[in-house]
Subunit: 425 residues, 2 copies
Amino acid sequence: MRLSQSFSKTVKSVSEELESANARLLTQGGYIHQEIAGVYSYLPLGLRVLNKIEAIVRSEMDKIGSEVLLSSLAPKANWETTGRLESVDVLFKASGGNQLSQEKNSTEYVLNSTHEEIITPLVQSFVQSYKDLPVAAYQIQTKFRNEARAKSGLMRGREFRMKDLYSFHVSEADLNAFYEKAKESYQAIFAALGLGADTFITYASGGDFTTAYSHEFQTLLANGEDTIYLDRATGVAYNKEVVTDEDAKKLGVDFSKMEIIRASEVGNIFPLGLKFSKAFDFSYLDENGAKQPVYMGCYGIGTSRLMGVIAEKFADEKGLVWPEPIAPFAYHLITLHGEGTEAESAKIYDTLGADNVLWDDRKDKGAGEMFGDADLLGIPVQLIVSPRNLAKNAVEVKSRGGKFESFMVPLEEVSGLAEKIVKAS
Amino acid sequence: MRLSQSFSKTVKSVSEELESANARLLTQGGYIHQEIAGVYSYLPLGLRVLNKIEAIVRSEMDKIGSEVLLSSLAPKANWETTGRLESVDVLFKASGGNQLSQEKNSTEYVLNSTHEEIITPLVQSFVQSYKDLPVAAYQIQTKFRNEARAKSGLMRGREFRMKDLYSFHVSEADLNAFYEKAKESYQAIFAALGLGADTFITYASGGDFTTAYSHEFQTLLANGEDTIYLDRATGVAYNKEVVTDEDAKKLGVDFSKMEIIRASEVGNIFPLGLKFSKAFDFSYLDENGAKQPVYMGCYGIGTSRLMGVIAEKFADEKGLVWPEPIAPFAYHLITLHGEGTEAESAKIYDTLGADNVLWDDRKDKGAGEMFGDADLLGIPVQLIVSPRNLAKNAVEVKSRGGKFESFMVPLEEVSGLAEKIVKAS
């Protein structure tokens, strides 16, 4: 992509209204645009990051479930059935806009903040006997929650992107086995996103059904909204706000001997048990033709939230620093003005591919602004084409995150750049 | 994908509430599930079709615009600015759900049915001078319209998927030039979807700004909601409900000499002119530093609507018949019971690839039901593995849509099947 033709521009100063580091940085970089507090549009650079995060999540989910796309609107009756129409205090409702349409259709709908109320009766319609179970289905889509406060940028939105997986089982044992598979799947996802080393399975509240605990995945983050007790040796953590001294006894751990550190939740897995299947009277016939209740689990990852966490976690004083797997582009090509730089840059752009390179080909910007923007945008590898470098018949290769020492690559070896970077790192 | 492990099942009879042919067929096939009239969930098979349609649309759009993802929620003020808060009678509004959250945040938002109110101020924030124009950006996302009646299945939804492209220009001439490019892009899309021969550029209403006409793309459909005057020789059509005798004079055509035929709108392109830029006071500075108004165009394709149109258009009395480019799978592998059929089918499944084959490996179904389901699901090529065929060391290859005469392919030549089908067609 050529920066001269980019939809967005970097922004020098952003509104004081944007309080969180991730919203400020992503807005300055032209990745996102706030429409309402907690409601963002994704501009081309931001959508590329979001798509890469969601592709990683999808590739793991496809191993354990079928992808669906559930409706955003739900009949209120479904939420009444589960008793959550009143208990979920962030629930949006939608209804016809003006006098005219209200006369024609005045029905009020729920704008789903989560999809148990849709997926449970849907799966129920296809399941008669034990032969039809287990079932696991997931989706990646926009969700709505009318948060009272929405000042954490992408980390807590009124409108946000989420992957939600739901599983349905003949027994608690089968649910538990799948639950462990989901855990592994989540670990693979966070590793692939570049968060593996700093993300910990965290004991959280037990929920409505089981004496076992549900789990969150917490990523260490200086401004994270949670505090966890962490045992780095075992990689196990406990959400400080949730666990009690009694839990410590039950779990056989001593919180006082553990590290206390700030973190941000990046995923959760939750054994729902019979809560929703009971509400919808969802049962199956076992081998003997007897009615049995269906066990359920749900498993969430906020993909836009992850984008905010990653932006904030790796940023430095100069701007964003994207992990390679989710960077909008692999290379940021900077063309300083001078003889031959544009022509050589065009060759490099073609060699590496427009889909891999963000090319700063702007003719009205000086070196200072170009370097500043490159650091702000946080693309992992910067390539500098300058008259001085061209005199040496070479391009300078720089790591935005300090993964390798800067080096020069001869122009005729640009096609082998990826390999050289791996070696240098 | 193995049918024995499929999320959905074919459904013998569907609710009388589903009035449209597309909703009935897609529900029977387990492609979609109605949640509310006009609101559907996409099950794995349906999501595959929708994704393929959207990938075709995206690949053409990427040639003329940047992809973004705009927010679904909008501040009411934006819609007040354009005067459409009251005039768009299908507009949904969303607000906090219960007593608790209403106390915290009682703001009412608009749930966008279209995105001029978001994209215009967004592009405005990045555009100062003529150097920053033209800009073209598109998105593919869920839209909301509180239709009074929603009885046409995917063809008119309260919640639906849509591609919307918006363009911004320094002059009417530049807008017109882009408008022609968009037209070509649309024609390429409908051709790629398998609708090329039956889709016509149709003169529709002139809109608010220009004496020129806006255009719809109309696909011939027996139960289409529109009627058009069609001149097949030139490929030009006129929306009968919109054009007048005066238009005929202006355009120099004689409607009485044209074919009158039913069709369904599959896309529209619209020169917005200055309507929205005036509302938002969106101007740019020209070469002389003088303020000039920004010209806009908008270009829509309902991707879920397209799925409904295509489903309905090609269906026959046995069920769905998907065009190859958007079929959920290329092959429907039917394993009749008998010695060796399962093992040979497994080999074929591996050879052709799980992503290309829907394998009916159900052990509790007879041949009749399997053939019936294959015809209902409408996957273009059926492969029949039966004891009788295996005795000949071959598989039977059948076209669902009658594109070629059935033939036998030797087991060892299954890897070259695609080529043989092209030859036979």
